[in-house]
């Protein structure tokens, strides 16, 4: 009888240990795994230098879109800009820039200084439109397919590793 108690108690403790181990080992920071595979909404974004609007439905006209949220005041955006310039050379991919809560003149100077990688430039002056894309800090970049599905989302500045991954995705 004592033996069966010992086995039962051991099983119980192993069970509890496994639960704690699995739960505590999980990444407790926000990630984008719930968003990848979702379709983006049809949203009107103001064009950056013109008075018109860009509706995200127009994404269906292109094979792949990189939707990049940036601002001139954001230091990591400066860091990733070279990668964006490299990405703009990929034929199968068009980059749409969303200038986030920025001063228009500063944003223009930024692009003049660093180069303009954007096929279409838009802006979100109060940051509310970006909520529709699940943005919570910039820079953020989403790779979107022709059918408006999010294939990948990058939080933070893009680097060379991301560039190679994006290249692989859009060459499929």
């Amino acid at each position: 009888m004592k033996k069966s108690y010992l086995i039962l108690t051991s099983i119980f403790f192993i069970f509890i240990f496994t639960i704690f181990y699995l739960s505590l080992g999980k990444n407790k920071t926000y990630n984008t795994e719930d968003i990848v595979g979702n379709k983006i909404d049809e949203i009107d974004l103001e064009l950056f230098n013109d008075s018109g609007l860009f509706n995200t439905k127009e994404i269906t006209n292109y094979n792949y879109i990189a939707l990049n949220f940036w601002a001139s005041w954001c230091a990591p955006c400066r860091k990733e800009h070279n990668v964006l310039m490299q990405l703009s050379k990929i034929k199968n991919l068009k980059i749409i820039g969303v200038n986030f809560k920025d001063n228009h003149n500063n944003a223009n100077s930024f692009l003049e200084e660093m180069g303009n990688p954007f096929y279409i430039s838009t802006k979100d002056t109060d940051g509310k439109k970006s909520i529709n894309f699940g943005v919570y800090g910039i820079p953020e970049t989403m790779i979107i397919s022709k059918d408006m599905v999010i294939l990948k989302k990058y939080i933070g500045p893009l680097d060379l590793k991301d560039f190679k991954e994006i290249e692989r995705i859009v060459k499929k």
């Binding site: 795994e33 719930d34 940051g127 970006s130 529709n132």
Partner: protein, 121 residues
């Protein structure tokens, strides 16, 4: 008479405004700030929290209900943004484990007591 109607109208309007404000505060308290993750959107002063507060305000103005606002935000940010996330298949064990342990513990004590009673007899 006009005064009485005016006062009633004032009370009616103020309760309406209060109810809306309470609902908004309740929603903001149930949302997690993704930038400063230990805080709710209501407590946080981050830029992200300010935008979410404004978006929740807009959605309430548009006539969306509390659940619809949670649905909208969890579609964009995943259930991570909700402080009270819905029960999913992969979290069943977490939700029901205390109850299972409670039942098993009760069963264990019952069997022990029963065994001792039989032994005493």
């Amino acid at each position: 008479m006009k005064k009485v109607i005016f006062i009633f109208l004032l009370i009616f309007l103020s309760t309406k405004i209060n109810a809306k404000e309470n609902l908004k505060n309740n929603i903001l308290k149930n949302l997690r700030c993704l930038v400063c993750q230990g805080q709710t959107i209501s407590d946080s002063n981050s830029d992200f929290a300010q935008i979410i507060k404004s978006v929740v305000d807009d959605k309430l103005q548009e006539g969306l209900k509390e659940k619809e606002i949670y649905h909208f935000l969890s579609e964009k940010y995943g259930s991570w943004i909700l402080l009270n996330p819905p029960i999913k298949t992969n979290s069943y064990l977490l939700w029901f484990l205390p109850y299972i342990l409670f039942i098993l513990g009760g069963l264990f004590i019952y069997l022990m007591v029963k065994k001792r009673v039989i032994e005493k007899k």
